[in-house]
C-alpha cells in the first residue's frame, strides 16, 4: 500500500445522511473478479438518468466540474449497509483518498482503511462548517497529527484513528503483512485451543 501522511485538496460536498454502500456502488456492478475500474460506476444511480452515461444528472455534485478533489465530505452514517468493499474500491478508483463525515458505519470504515482511504470523523458542528465553504476552499488532513483543517480560516479539529492503523497507513503496511508475521503464534494458539 502507498504511504500516506498529508492530503491537501479541494473537496466534493455531498450533504446527504445515511449514504449506504448500495448507493456508492449498486449491486449490479459487483460482478467483477478484479478490483479495477469501479470508479466509473461510483454513485451510478445518483449520477445518471436511467442508467445512461450520456445523461448525467446536472444537480449531482460529481457532475459539476467546479467540484474536484481527493476529499469527499458527506452527511452522517456514511457507508452503512452492505459490507461490499467495492464501495471503497470505487471511491479510491474515482480519486478520493479521504472521506469526511460525522459518523461512519463500521464495516465501511475497516474497508476504507484496508485500502488506504482515510475515514475522517469530525463533529457535527465542524461538518456543518465545512459544508458552508464553496468549491474553491481546501481542506488539509494531517494523519500524523490527526488534524483536519479548513485552510481558509485555519479552523481545525482532531480526529480519532487507532494508533496501529495510523502507523500502517503512514508506513504503507497492511494487516496481512502483520498477520503473516505472527503465524507461529497463531499455530501455537491452535495447538492449545
Amino acid at each position: 500500500m502507498e504511504k500516506i501522511n498529508i492530503i491537501h485538496s479541494t473537496f466534493c460536498p455531498l450533504q446527504i445522511e445515511n449514504i449506504d454502500t448500495d448507493q456508492i456502488i449498486p449491486a449490479r456492478f459487483l460482478k467483477a473478479t478484479t478490483k479495477d475500474g469501479f470508479g466509473k460506476n461510483l454513485f451510478r444511480d445518483w449520477r445518471y438518468e436511467n442508467d445512461d452515461e450520456t445523461k448525467p444528472k446536472a444537480g449531482f455534485i460529481l457532475n459539476q466540474p467546479q467540484y474536484q478533489g481527493q476529499i469527499l465530505v458527506a452527511g452522517k452514517n456514511f457507508g452503512c449497509g452492505s459490507s461490499r468493499e467495492h464501495a471503497a474500491w470505487s471511491l479510491l478508483d474515482f480519486g478520493f483518498k479521504v472521506i469526511v463525515s460525522s459518523h461512519f458505519a463500521d464495516i465501511f470504515k475497516s474497508n476504507a482503511l484496508n485500502n488506504g482511504v482515510i475515514p475522517v470523523q469530525v463533529s457535527e458542528p465542524f461538518l456543518k462548517k465545512i459544508f458552508q465553504f464553496s468549491h474553491d476552499a481546501t481542506l488539509t488532513i494531517n494523519l500524523r497529527e490527526q488534524t483536519i483543517t479548513i485552510d481558509a480560516t485555519g479552523e481545525y479539529e482532531l480526529f480519532d484513528i487507532n494508533n496501529y492503523k495510523k502507523n500502517c497507513l503512514l508506513n504503507g503496511y497492511d494487516d496481512i503483512d502483520y498477520l503473516i508475521s505472527v503465524k507461529d503464534e497463531i499455530e501455537a494458539f491452535e495447538n492449545r485451543y
Partner: protein, 476 residues
C-alpha cells in the same frame, strides 16, 4: 470480573493483543460466496500463499444465481464467470463447495445454521454484512470486507478492535400478529439505522427466550441494519434442540462435552454493558417501512411522520428525499396503498417457519390479480421441505411463483428485480434506493404482512385477516 457473553467468546479467541491496537482474533468458521471472494483469492495468490485452514472455510453461491432453471448454464456472462471462479478457487484450495447442483446450496446464512455448521461459542465471519444472523446461536459473527476475507484466508485470523457492547432486553407479551421481524424493525425504528454503530448487541429478555431459533435468526440478521457490528443471543435449550442431529453438529460423546461447554455461554448476572435498552413487547405492532433506510419504519396502521415535526435539519432533508423517492407523503397512512409486487425470501425470512407462516395466512385463498408474488426458499433444504409438507400446493393455488434458492430480489444483482417506480412489500432486510432494482420502492415487513398484501394487493393489517386464528411463531 463479571463478563458478558461477548467477552467470554472474544477472550477465548484472542490470540494476542497489540498494545494500543487491535487484537488478533482467531476465526473458527469462514463462509464465502461468489461476490466478495474472487479478489481475496487472487490477493493471497499474488503473495504466493495458499488458504491457511481450508477445512474451516465453507463456500456456496447465492447472490448472483438465477432462481429459475438452475440446472441450465447461467445466462448472464459476468454472473456465470463469478460462479465458475469460486468453484475453481475452491477446488484449487481444497475448500468444501456447495454449488448450484449440490443439495446443500442456498443463501449462505441459511445453510450454515441448517447444516449445524454454526455452533455456539464460535467466531464466524463472511464477506457479507448479514453474517450477524449466526449470532442467534451465541456466536461472535460479523460481516467483513474482501481485504479481511483475504486476511482470514491467509491466517485464519483478523485484526479487530474490541467493539463496545449493548444489551437490548425485550420483555412482556407480544401482540397478536407480531413476529420477530416486527420486533427488529421496531427496534431499528427506535434507535435509527446508525444507532448501534461500534457496538456488539446482545438480545435478551423473556420474549427472545420464547422465540424459536429461526425467529431469533431474523432478529440477529438485521442487527447490522442499526449499524451494530453484530447481534447475539445466549444459547439455551431451544438452541440445543435445534442443533442436535444436524449434519455437522457434534455427535455422541463429543456432543455431550460441547453441551457442557455451551451451558457456560451467557452473560454473568452482574455483567455491565456500555448501553442497555429495555423494550416492552406490548409497544410493538406489526411494522412496515416507508423510507429508504430500515430505520424509517412505523406500525402498520400509523402515519408517516410529518416533516415539520422533525427538529434536526439533516434528518428532515433525508425524510423529504426518502419520501420523494418512495412516492409517498408525510402524514399519510400506508394502509390501502396499492402494491405491485410481494417478495418473500432473503436471508432474513426464507426459512421453513417463515414459509409456513405465509402458508397459514393464504391457505385456500388466491392472491390479488394486481400483484406479482415471488416466494423464494432460502436453500435447497428449505425448498425440499416446502414440497415435503405440501406448502408448494398452497402457494401455487394462491398464484404465487415459487422460485429456486438464492438471494433473489433482495439485492438487484441477479435476474429478479422490481421495476422502477413500483412498490414491493418485501420480507428482506433493506429498503435502500434501488436495492431491489433501479427505482424500485421497497416496503419492508414480516412474512405475515407480506402474505396479507399478496391477498389484497394493498398494504394490509394482517390482524384484519387473521380473525380468530393466531399465526404466531416460535411457540414451542
Amino acid at each position: 470480573m463479571a463478563s458478558t457473553l461477548f467477552d467470554k467468546i472474544w477472550n477465548k479467541h484472542a490470540v494476542k493483543s497489540i498494545p494500543q491496537g487491535p487484537s488478533v482474533l482467531y476465526i473458527d468458521k469462514h463462509f464465502i460466496h461468489e461476490v466478495t471472494s474472487p479478489q481475496a483469492f487472487s490477493g493471497i495468490e499474488k503473495r504466493g500463499l495458499k488458504v491457511f485452514r481450508p477445512k474451516q472455510v465453507v463456500a456456496t453461491v447465492d447472490h448472483n444465481v438465477p432462481t429459475i432453471d438452475q440446472h441450465l448454464p447461467i445466462k448472464e456472462k459476468l454472473s456465470r464467470v463469478q460462479v465458475q471462479t469460486i468453484k475453481e478457487n475452491c477446488v484449487k484450495h481444497g475448500i468444501e463447495f456447495y454449488g448450484l447442483d449440490h443439495p446443500y446450496q442456498g443463501i449462505v446464512h441459511i445453510i450454515g445454521p441448517e447444516l449445524g455448521i454454526t455452533q455456539p461459542g464460535m467466531t464466524i465471519v463472511c464477506g457479507d454484512s448479514h453474517t450477524s444472523t449466526h449470532g442467534a446461536f451465541g456466536t461472535i459473527a460479523f460481516g467483513i470486507g474482501t481485504s479481511e476475507v483475504e486476511m482470514v484466508f491467509a491466517s485464519q485470523c483478523l485484526l479487530q478492535i474490541k467493539p463496545k457492547q449493548m444489551r437490548i432486553n425485550i420483555n412482556g407479551t407480544l401482540n397478536r400478529g407480531v413476529v420477530s421481524k416486527d420486533i427488529i424493525l421496531y427496534i431499528i425504528s427506535k434507535i435509527t439505522s446508525g444507532g448501534a454503530t461500534g457496538h456488539f448487541v446482545e438480545f435478551a429478555g423473556s420474549v427472545i427466550r420464547n422465540l424459536s431459533m429461526e425467529a431469533r435468526m431474523t432478529i440477529c440478521n438485521m442487527s447490522i441494519e442499526m449499524g451494530a457490528k453484530g447481534g447475539m443471543i445466549a444459547p439455551d435449550k431451544t438452541t440445543l434442540d435445534y442443533l442436535e442431529g444436524r449434519e455437522f453438529a457434534p455427535k455422541g460423546e463429543e456432543w455431550k462435552k460441547k453441551v457442557q461447554e455451551w451451558k457456560q455461554l451467557k452473560s454473568d448476572e452482574d455483567a455491565v454493558f456500555d448501553k442497555e435498552l429495555n423494550i416492552d413487547a406490548a409497544d410493538i405492532q406489526p411494522m412496515i417501512t416507508y423510507g429508504t433506510n430500515p430505520g424509517l419504519g412505523i406500525a402498520i396502521d400509523a402515519m408517516i411522520p410529518r416533516t415539520e415535526a422533525i427538529a434536526d435539519e439533516g434528518e428532515r432533508r433525508n425524510l423529504v428525499k426518502a419520501l420523494e423517492y418512495m412516492g409517498l407523503n408525510a402524514g399519510q397512512r400506508l394502509l390501502g396503498t396499492p402494491v405491485q409486487h410481494v417478495f418473500i425470501g432473503s436471508c432474513t425470512n426464507s426459512r421453513i417457519e417463515d414459509l409456513r407462516m405465509v402458508a397459514n395466512v393464504i391457505k385456500g385463498k388466491k392472491k390479488s390479480d394486481n400483484v406479482h408474488v415471488m416466494i423464494v426458499p432460502g436453500s435447497q433444504q428449505v425448498a425440499k421441505q416446502v414440497y415435503a409438507e405440501g406448502l408448494d400446493k398452497i402457494f401455487t393455488e394462491a398464484g404465487f411463483e415459487i422460485r429456486q434458492p438464492g438471494c433473489s430480489a433482495c439485492l438487484g444483482m441477479n435476474e429478479d428485480k422490481i421495476p422502477a417506480g413500483e412498490y414491493c412489500v418485501s420480507t428482506s432486510n433493506r429498503n435502500f434506493e434501488g436495492r431491489q432494482g433501479a427505482g424500485a420502492r421497497t416496503l419492508l415487513a414480516s412474512p405475515l404482512t407480506a402474505a396479507a398484501a399478496a391477498l389484497t394487493g394493498v398494504v394490509t393489517d394482517v390482524r384484519e385477516l387473521m380473525r380468530s386464528v393466531i399465526y404466531g411463531e416460535g411457540e414451542e
